[in-house]
């Protein structure tokens, strides 16, 4: 199998409700793939299901031929998947430095961890400046950077990003999406769930369109941008 991440027949239910109704998707190595869709379409559920955070799910998930669906989240992380949650979700009672260290919790070698932290602080100078501050005192954009930095600390092969643009100013959003290209350049694949189709399609290689728990359309980003449906509903015509 070529693809790094393979999802087959994924179903996610919350009690009586089926949020995700049997979808297939994959992320090949070195690509950025986006899941587009409106609020509540089920994008977050897919991301959380891959991460192992959802109790009731069916289907198979494989990362480079290792099965994920029975693993608890910390093992999924140790296999090389890192999560940038919706709404940042940084640890507000821990300092910036400690947040980054948490990202590398599963990693053993202290040297490597320190080196990676240096790298990340170079990528995000603002984090270096605010190292000793509590996470809760950062602005929205800074928190998003911290969340991404934290995820990168575990040296993942796949980065899951859940609505990275949510609640952020346009300029910050632009910056963040440019950043994803940087990340891809370093060999990390990305799967992002994003409402902001314009920005997502700008950087993604391939996109899936999710509506009411099902994939309605998918294809290379260029084609999706050009598609009538996407244009009308998500890009404003």
């Amino acid at each position: 199998m070529n693809a790094l991440l393979q999802v087959k027949g994924l179903e996610v239910t919350y009690g009586p409700v089926r949020a995700v109704k049997g979808i297939d998707l994959e992320v090949p190595k070195g690509e950025i793939r986006a899941i587009l869709g409106a609020n509540g379409a089920g994008k977050s559920s897919i991301i959380r299901a891959i991460m192992g955070l959802v109790k009731s799910r069916r289907g198979t998930l494989t990362l480079a031929d290792r099965e994920l669906q029975r693993l608890p989240p910390h093992m999924v992380n140790q296999l090389g998947i890192a999560w940038v949650p919706e709404g940042r979700q940084i640890f507000s009672t821990l300092t910036v430095h400690e947040n980054l260290l948490m990202g590398a919790f599963g990693q053993r070698h202290a040297q490597e961890v320190r080196a990676r932290q240096e790298q990340i602080m170079e990528l995000f100078p603002i984090l270096k400046a605010r190292q000793a501050q509590l996470g809760g005192s950062l602005s929205g954009g800074e928190q998003q950077m911290l969340a991404i930095g934290r995820a990168l600390m575990s040296n993942p092969v796949l980065l899951l990003m859940d609505e990275p643009s949510l609640g952020l100013a346009p300029r910050v959003v632009q910056y963040l999406f440019d950043l994803t290209r940087e990340i891809r350049a370093r060999g990390i694949s990305i799967l992002m769930a994003e409402q902001n189709a314009r920005q997502a399609l700008r950087v993604a290689d391939y996109a899936y369109l999710l509506e009411v728990g099902e994939i309605r359309d998918s294809g290379p980003a260029r084609d999706m941008e050009a598609s009538e449906r996407v244009r009308q509903v998500y890009l404003g015509g």
Binding site: M51, S92, L94, G103
Partner: protein
């Protein structure tokens, strides 16, 4: 004036023990959102372990050299901590883990079942009446400008302080302590960072139980007695401390524990000893009315 300092010392002594037990409660609650009603009983188990070890060892009590006495005390303390630590582990695996994360009352009831088992187990094995715990630390009263402090009182405070310092070190300066704080705040995110939340759960309950056990030993030696129901009132007051302090900061719980001890002592000395037990609830009412999340705030529940 002497009376004031005397009560102050008494208060700090008992307050430090409240603080240790309250910290255990608070730890389990803030990390796992579980109210562990068996925690006071684990405190009681600690006292009984001290009883068993000391009577089995036929410790002569008085007439021991200081260093031997301290050695025996430490031995008893360590044994009690091991026993209560194991009890905590079993409790976590069998009772806390299956019920955490669900409705807030479920672990509450499950642990109350455990507390019933422990209380009645203690009565069955040791009888319903308090048993006498022979003292280990040679009794010696220090008098400093009219204020009397016994050696056991000093031991109690010292033990409590050391435990609290150790806990603080663990939580703020170790990897697992950091993970514990992360889990307390956002368990899903912590899990996605590679933290084995079940392991943190076990660590937390064990540590809290060890602390309760140690507090039980010191209190048992202080009052020279262990009883099946000693956990009840003590536990309730510690629980109040946790509520009043909020579960956001360790130092808050420590401070409130000490405060409660001191206020109780002052009320006992200056007003009436009947009202001593009411202090805790008066404090609870007063604080919760104005600041429902506790004096120093808590995580969202």
């Amino acid at each position: 004036m002497e009376q004031f300092f005397q009560q102050l010392i008494n208060g700090i002594m008992i307050g430090s023990t409240y603080a240790v037990v309250a910290l255990g409660f608070g730890l389990i609650f803030s990390v796992m959102r579980v109210v562990n009603l068996a925690h006071p009983e684990i405190f009681m188990v600690g006292a009984y372990v001290a009883f068993v070890v000391i009577t089995r060892l036929h410790v002569p009590g008085q007439g021991l050299g200081v260093s031997v006495a301290v050695g025996v005390f430490l031995l008893v303390l360590v044994l009690a901590m091991v026993v209560t630590g194991v009890v905590g582990l079993v409790l976590e695996r069998l009772v806390v883990r299956p019920t955490r994360g669900t409705y807030i009352l479920t672990p509450f009831i499950a642990t109350s079942g455990v507390s019933i088992v422990l209380q009645n187990g203690a009565q069955r094995v040791f009888g319903p009446d308090p048993v006498r715990v022979p003292s280990v630390i040679p009794a010696h009263t220090f008098v400093v400008s009219g204020v009397r402090v016994t050696s056991m009182q000093i031991t109690t405070v010292l033990t409590a302080v050391l435990i609290m310092l150790a806990l603080r070190y663990y939580v703020y300066r170790t990897r697992w302590g950091r993970a514990t704080r992360a889990v307390a705040e956002k368990p899903d995110v912590a899990a996605a960072c590679g933290v084995n939340v079940n392991l943190v759960s076990q660590l937390t309950v064990s540590i809290a139980s060890i602390m309760a056990g140690a507090a039980g030993v010191t209190l048992g030696l202080l009052y020279s007695s262990a009883a099946p129901f000693m956990g009840l009132l003590f536990g309730l007051k510690s629980f109040v401390c946790m509520l009043v302090a909020g579960n956001r900061y360790i130092e808050a719980i420590m401070a409130v524990g000490l405060l409660l001890g001191v206020v109780e002592a002052m009320v006992t000395g200056y007003v009436s000893s009947n009202l001593r037990d009411a202090v805790a609830f008066a404090l609870l009412l007063a604080v919760l009315f104005f600041r429902p999340q506790g004096l120093f705030g808590s995580y969202e529940v």
